[in-house]
Symmetry: C2
Subunit: 473 residues, 2 copies
């Protein structure tokens, strides 16, 4: 519940359409994409940067805590309120008016509340797209705030690399608007301020408008499943593909046998690409693509991929047990079903880790050998972006077997996995999901004290108000 | 001259080899790559991050101003001391020991004093390279500090996009070392601190070690000269090339007739690629490249380029007056000679500007029409990275014609060009050269007050000591 005076003042800013206080209507803003459920004092839905600015200024002056929320598809409780019922959710979902395409510059200026799918639909006729490929359908502001990666990172990079500019409302008493919306690709005139707002989950301000880099839509795509001879073969295989395919290579995704089995068991629409053969222990989904229509005299792209796979097959130390080119839709359907499969396999304890590229499989193999003796009744369902060093490392706990989950079991399991990933393998505890309440503890543990101090100082300098679900201090 | 006590303390840190005080030996560190010449109190040449840290801590405590210097190839007086004789130059030129290649990760960890050419030579056997292509041969630390772009920006991006991590010594009383040397490609665990040190020319700390992204070396290259029918045709031409060549396209560089004529007049080794024909008003050098060796059944790359040019030629609204594929070495020789040609054409007033892509030529055309009436006896010699919106806009002043240069003429000329570029065309006053004493005035003029305040606050927070040639306040 919010004080009547504050309610009246905020209603005055955003109007009837911009204020949600009905408990049932608020639920959609209180429930996250995975498990978490908080309680909001109120939901604000401002419809312009100016309204966001006035809301933020008011809340900072009145010491009201704000949690900015974009598409609310995040997985780390970064966009939902805590259970206290005192935080106000500031949703971007009415911030969708601006769409300004500059084909010559290959850039688009959009309001932060626009959905990724809506934006790409509006871009379609231009032959350009925003090259961040995700399973979810977030709003653009949240993509910047979490710096999402996705399945084509290897070719196009993350959101940071594709952000030319942004407009942000700082959490100070004036709701200061910083206009960093330059569409310039080269601009070295001091601090590149936009970088502070990308990936920091709203703690340094609320992104309200975005200027994005666009890329030509792929017009030819070919995919293959590669079965490596063992885990150690995967990085050499990646390097061979990169050498022979260069910028054609647009995805190099890993799928463990466990992950594929769970998807086949729990996603009814999914076809088994291996038919009656046993499911391999690990499969790489490799994609090559190019942006032009097929041309006379040019080798078709699937033939190029076949040729390269044959070359690799013929190489002296062949790291391949099997490889075949196949229909892209079917091959990607499996990849996209893995997350859904894992969710239904049992109680999920999910990790979004990254490593230097050669260490992804080293970590997974180490875990396969060490986990069973330390945590019996926990199964590994791993898959991910092997070409970028990322892995969605999911553990499935068999709850039926014991009362394990009740007595701090999950915390012990998390602590142990993170310590192995970070202390032993030099990895990251958040590859592409950002920071929220869910992984705040690990930020506090694994960020050196002096870096945390700088974070706290930066917060005081730029956005001293209570905004965002995380503490960077 | 430096106080004897300070000299002794600094000598104690860096040893005999690390201290230069002889006036003649210091000259190399006092003279910039273009025009500027300052006077140093002393030159320090620490040989490790630890030595840099001790030097910086001492100088901050004793309030001695430090100017970090890397390869000293910059063009904005960002790496040389001012004329006062009280600043100490801290050179990175002995910081060259670390070279640690991770082929699987496509990354290399190097000391910041390593030269670009040395690093790429050591990388050669690996088939990988650091994809920043420059006329100069800087040291790596300075490339990060200025965020250089270069001729293959269109394909690979700038230094920022290719920096995976760095180690930096902050200008505080402890000479705090921040180790951000992660080789991770995905890591969203808070503020991406390295971004603050890329492009800020040492003001926020001295970069001592770098972790860089590497790319496969191109194994096939083809180039063409395209003569657009007029300035307005260039952006449509670029878009047609991008659609038809996608990630093959690795350069799209513009060369004005004036720039080519100056190069042919002043660079004796240069051949005239147009033979006896008149030099066109504007030429685009387009390059396509791919990273693998030619394969059987594959169309050679120059044939691909020919095909695409024929397609464009056949298009209804053909923006091309002429186009021909030719030998890469020869075609690039012209591009690389333009800077040298401009330098010899007269007294140079040089600008490193950028715009939204369609505005590069609009700006140049506007200038061609307006400059003569306002500044007679000034000729335009422009060329640059049209595909990224960048232009090296050089003005050559005919000094013989009048005493123009003496009475603040150059300042008036600079002020006017910047105001047109920024106020009228929304451009940047420093596309890829960074900030130094030379363009400090324009930082002060064109950076909004609240951004300047944030810059000053950030400086106090992170590196309060007197380091760098620029003020971000």
């Amino acid at each position: 519940m919010i004080d009547a005076r504050h309610r009246a003042a905020l209603l005055d800013i955003v109007g009837e359409k911009g204020l949600v206080e009905d408990r049932q209507a608020m639920a959609a803003y209180e429930i996250g994409a995975r498990y978490d459920r908080g309680r909001a004092a109120l939901v604000l839905r401002p419809a312009s940067t100016a309204e966001v600015s006035t809301c933020v200024g008011y809340c900072v002056r009145e010491r009201i805590a704000l949690v900015p929320q974009s598409g609310n598809t995040g997985l780390v409780s970064g966009s939902t309120p805590d259970a206290g019922g005192t935080q106000v959710v500031l949703s971007l979902d009415r911030l969708t008016a601006v769409f300004d395409l500059d084909v010559d510059n290959r850039s688009v200026h959009v309001d932060a509340g626009m959905k990724l799918s809506d934006m790409n639909a509006r871009l379609e006729h231009s032959g350009l797209f925003f090259p961040i490929d995700l399973g979810a359908d977030p709003r653009i502001g949240g993509m910047l705030a979490t710096n999402t990666g996705g399945s084509r990172f290897l070719r196009y990079g993350d959101v940071r690399k594709n952000t030319l500019g942004l407009k942000v409302v700082l959490a100070d008493e004036n709701g200061t608007v910083l206009d960093l919306l330059s569409g310039l690709r080269k601009n070295n005139t001091g601090v590149d301020w936009k970088q502070l707002f990308v990936g920091t989950c709203g703690a340094f301000g609320i992104i309200t408008e975005c200027m994005l880099n666009l890329e030509p839509v792929p017009r030819q795509v070919a995919t293959a499943y590669l079965v490596p001879s063992d885990g150690a073969a995967i990085t050499p295989l990646l390097r061979m593909m990169e050498e022979r395919l260069g910028s054609y290579l647009s995805a190099f995704e890993g799928m463990s046998g466990n992950a594929m089995s769970a998807a086949l068991a729990h996603v009814p629409s999914l076809r088994n690409p291996f038919r009656n053969a046993p499911i391999p222990a690990y499969v790489i989904l490799a994609e090559v693509s190019r942006s032009w229509q097929p041309r006379a005299g040019e080798q078709p792209l699937d033939a190029v991929l076949e040729t390269v796979l044959a070359e690799i097959w013929d190489a002296a130390d062949v790291p391949l047990a099997n490889a075949f080119v196949g229909p892209s839709n079917e091959m990607w359907a499996m990849r996209h079903a893995l997350s859904e499969g894992a969710k239904h396999a049992g109680r999920l304890v999910a990790f979004d880790l990254s490593f230097r590229r050669a260490d992804v499989m080293a970590f997974c193999e180490w875990m396969k050998s060490e986990l069973p003796s330390r945590f019996p009744d926990v199964a590994i369902i791993d898959f991910g972006h092997v070409g970028d060093g990322g892995v969605h490392f999911n553990l499935v706990v068999d709850e039926a077997r014991s009362g394990l989950v009740s007595d701090g079991f999950e915390t012990r399991l998390r602590d142990w996995v993170y310590s192995v990933a970070i202390d032993r393998f030099g990895g990251s505890f958040s590859a592409e999901h950002g920071i929220g309440r869910k992984n705040q503890t690990y930020y506090d543990i694994y960020t050196p004290q002096k870096t945390r101090n700088l974070g706290a100082g930066l917060k005081r300098l730029i956005s001293p108000g209570r905004v965002g679900a995380v503490r960077f201090g």
